[in-house]
Chain length 311, copies 2
């Protein structure tokens, strides 16, 4: 294994934008876009928590960026670039780093971002990764998860539950003949670039699971949510898993679709703003507290756990 | 152990500035100081690499912030705030978190910074921490490690080698009757707030070791460096370790003093800018390549390794 400095020069310096100064300085320098607010977020990906040791390093890299990009999408921000940390145990070799940096390069190009800086370390334990993403919005225009109002519709982009079922498929617990669910688990599609400002009163990305993330919105607004399980959009592959997959779909994390609070009358404008991306109304915010999931006959469903949380 | 969300509410939300929005949103929102450049840096601290499992969590927290603050100091930047990641194995309890967050609070107050956001996760391995620090400078005024010119003097702040000897003391390999060396290893003093712009042509903080970090400056400028070992300032406690400690002092990391390239004639102004903080000329940049360390009779010293690097 090459040493720290030659690894940085070989795999990471080519990814650096001008802010990164060739990754030879102690820090990055960013001239912020004039008159804009900056939006900053950080997420980790840890071996055996967020990915499996055998996973393709290029997909790990792209998911690391995409999970963070999804946080920017939920704030209505345009991404600029990122700082990266890697902590790698001795057994991780050049092949892994080559794949990992190729994955970063691919998604940097796709999302028009560059590497600003980072820190690489050895690890005495498992692989540990993080990315800090920096984006921008018009001043005061950043969305919040806490702004929902009673009477707002609850809408979601895309389809819900694919990633949770995909993780089961990757663990051999489920058939995934098309590979669609597996792909949704390995490589989310952050919903960047939707012009949501003025159309929604609150937004969050679904990372912990629909029920739990909806609970965060309720808590932030002091409201309850009522959704119809039958209205929650399923992909064809998820639908093929049958009714028994409902709880996994509604409480499983990693979808990175957007969950939106939409004032009455804004639904058509929201659909127009989302273009080809389907967006579906699944319920409504009301006075009260908690998330209530109803079946087709209006009875309340109970789940054993609302979603992903770290102990 | 409480769950992720109650831990965030209890230990970290009280540390958040307005940019952190109570740590309930997907990202932080920062209105940059108008007309300033932003300076961004990230550093990790990993169990068994950067700290020992038994170390006081408050000191771990403060060193995490200070290592990053030192990077801002080396760029001439004023700190604003930070994002934090924590990955904690199941055995890490409330006491550890209470101490860790108290350490953050203490240094937030001391350095006038606040928590902007973060990510907390469980870990299947060891404790893994990172902080992304955000600061600002006048436009175009950020310092670089790469600007040294032939004829510039090589200067250092403070005393060199205390932290490396302090680590040996913590490992029981060395006597440290005053506790000074141990303290310098556990809690560095980043050299914030020195008005270095215009006085120095290059700056770096000594994190990997004097010889190695000086090598980075040489490489960035296409120059060589000649320093006199006898001129490198030693604390009384380090001097008491004797001549046998010289290599450890000059190649050991974690001092977080500043290493500066100072054009001829700027020495007195530099001393004035540093006020009570001693600053010492130890050598000169010249044409050529590499770092040459001379003893008092002008003979070149050889070290077995120049400084800290990760495999």
């Amino acid at each position: 294994m090459s040493d720290e400095f030659s690894r940085i020069a070989r795999y990471f310096a080519p990814l650096a934008g001008k802010e990164g100064r060739g990754l030879t300085d102690d820090a990055a320098v960013l001239t912020p876009p004039p008159g804009r607010d900056l939006v900053l977020t950080v997420d980790q990906m840890l071996e055996d928590v967020h990915f499996l040791t055998r996973d393709d390093p290029a997909l790990i890299a792209r998911k690391l960026l995409r999970r963070n990009l999804s946080d920017l999408a939920a704030m209505g921000a345009v991404p600029l670039g990122y700082l990266l940390t890697t902590a790698l145990p001795e057994g991780v070799g050049e092949d892994w780093l080559a794949g990992f940096s190729q994955g970063l390069a691919q998604d940097q190009k796709f999302f028009n971002i560059s590497l600003f800086g980072g820190d690489s370390s050895s690890s005495r334990g498992k692989i540990s990764l993080s990315a800090t993403l920096i984006g921008h919005t018009a001043p005061g225009a950043a969305l919040s998860r806490n702004g929902a109002r009673a009477g707002d519709g609850i809408w979601v982009t895309g389809t819900i539950g694919d990633a949770a079922l995909g993780l089961r498929a990757r663990l051999g617990e489920l058939e995934d003949p098309s590979g669609f669910l597996t792909a949704r688990s390995l490589l989310p599609e952050p919903r960047m670039g939707l012009a949501l400002a003025g159309l929604v009163s609150a937004a969050i990305d679904i990372s912990d699971g629909l029920v739990q993330d909806l609970g965060h919105m309720c808590q932030g607004a002091g409201l309850s949510a009522v959704i119809r399980a039958g209205l929650v959009p399923a992909s064809a592959a998820a639908a093929a898993c049958g009714a028994g997959a409902l709880e996994a779909r509604l409480t499983g994390g990693d979808d990175y679709e957007l969950l939106l609070a939409v004032p009455p009358g804004n639904g058509e404008a929201l659909k127009a703003a989302c273009g080809d991306l389907p967006v579906t109304k699944i319920g409504m915010f009301q006075a009260g507290a908690g998330v209530h999931v109803l079946n087709d006959s209006g009875a309340m469903l109970q789940f054993t756990r609302p979603g992903w949380r770290h102990f």
